[in-house]
Amino acid sequence: MASYARPVERLITELSKLPSIGPKSAQRIAFHVVRGKPDDARALAEALREVKERIHPCKRCFNLTEAEECDICTDPRRDPSVICAVEDPYDIGPIERTGEYRGLYHVLGGALSPLDGVEPEDLRIAELVERVGREETKEIVVATNPNTTGEATALFIAQELQDRPVRVTALASGLPVGGDLEYADEVTLGRAFAGRREI
């Protein structure tokens, strides 16, 4: 027999399907909604409906957008000769917040992983190579995650573009600002030494 009324059980079940939400958290959120104002619940439902109905990938860079092309692709102040390739749409936010980058983006949709069966055909690498030919791109900045799968993806992209007149660069790796050298791992510290700079 169900512990709660059927609609509450249903809400708990649906919330449990979300990432990082276990049964306890789902129950807590469900009861927060039950106890909250009806307008707040309606606003949440409307936001969920709207995001599913109106958001889709930009046809040029695959970032999420309401229009055919995203705000970054249509911004005339951006430099169209540089494309930054990222794994997921949520990687764009941190790069934008640096204020250091004024080019365009390309969302790959993940990273290559032979350990998990993710192959080049599963990502939007072919679309990136086509874009390079079509848009007279001068530089591709590969900003995949600094881990094994991200670096394999960067290597594959560089290999795909080796015959094109385009510069392929990757983000530097090294020590995080504010950290202690004592706690740095061997790989990161090794990279920091390899990429040391004049001061």
Partner: protein, 258 residues
């Protein structure tokens, strides 16, 4: 809560929660272990790059009900030379898939750990011949798991199959776990013929240390076919491992060939 220390090779690392990762490690003392590394995806994580896939590490963890939790890690070998080369990395991915397909249980087998370590070491040290290392690894792992393929005689009639053979070629029957002489080939509908030299090449891969694994280029395809078919026919592991192992020697193709 039991705390333990072990050497392990990271087979897989998947994102979990806000900033964690769930790791599959093949350990020296406890076989395949799943453990969580909390906060590892944060840039200031104390784990840093120490728990990247294929790293051989010395780690401290405490046991949990479903997942163990890693608390300290020291890198013994990072095998970054394997990770930083697409062909080597793809070959290592196939070896990891075979481990998951064949040795997926939690029973400890130091020989599996040592074999994987030496295979990665060989892969990092070589500049070519990655197919041979993959094939030798899969065959040796099959032997350790109790699925030794019979390659010296027909699995049905015991007729010796020492090459060079006169007349028709021998066959390989994956479900029967070995070679068939031409007279017994009807014993398995899945049997396929072996080009001359394939059986000897397979026997050498089983017998020689992995660092000496070498297959002539003309035999690489037939050897890979036998090895993938044998692993698939005997892999008790789950569907994902089997699917990955089935990819056999297929490397990443260029999407836009030059």
């Amino acid at each position: 809560m039991a705390v333990y220390k072990s050497k392990g090779i990271v087979l897989r690392s998947i994102r979990f929660g806000e900033a964690d990762r769930i790791l599959d490690l093949y350990t020296q003392n406890a076989g395949l272990v799943s453990a969580i590394a909390k906060g590892i995806r944060r840039t200031r994580s104390r784990f840093g790059g120490r728990l990247e896939p294929l790293s051989c590490v010395d780690f401290l963890a405490y046991q949990g009900r479903t997942l163990d939790t890693v608390t300290q890690v020291e890198v013994l070998r990072s095998f970054h030379g394997v990770r930083e080369d697409l062909d080597r990395f793809e070959a290592a991915g196939n070896m990891v898939a075979v481990v998951r397909a064949i040795s997926g249980g939690d029973e400890a087998d130091r020989r599996v750990f040592n074999l994987l370590y030496h295979a990665l070491d060989t892969l990092e040290g070589r500049t070519s011949g990655f197919e041979s290392i993959k094939a030798a690894f899969s065959l040796k792992l099959s032997v350790l798991a109790g699925y030794t393929p019979r390659l010296d005689a027909c699995v049905i009639c015991d007729r010796g199959l020492k090459e060079p053979l006169d007349g028709e070629p021998p066959y390989f029957a994956p479900p029967l776990g070995g070679a068939l002489c031409p007279d017994c080939r009807a014993a398995s509908g899945d049997a396929f013929p072996l080009p001359p030299g394939t059986l000897s090449a397979l026997q050498s891969l089983v017998a020689l240390p992995i660092r000496e694994a070498a297959v002539e280029e003309r035999l690489e395809e037939s050897v890979s076919r036998v090895v993938s078919a044998h692993v698939l026919a005997h892999a008790p592991g789950g569907a994902p491992g089997r699917a990955l192992a089935a990819r056999g020697g297929a490397g990443w193709r260029r999407l836009h060939p030059a």
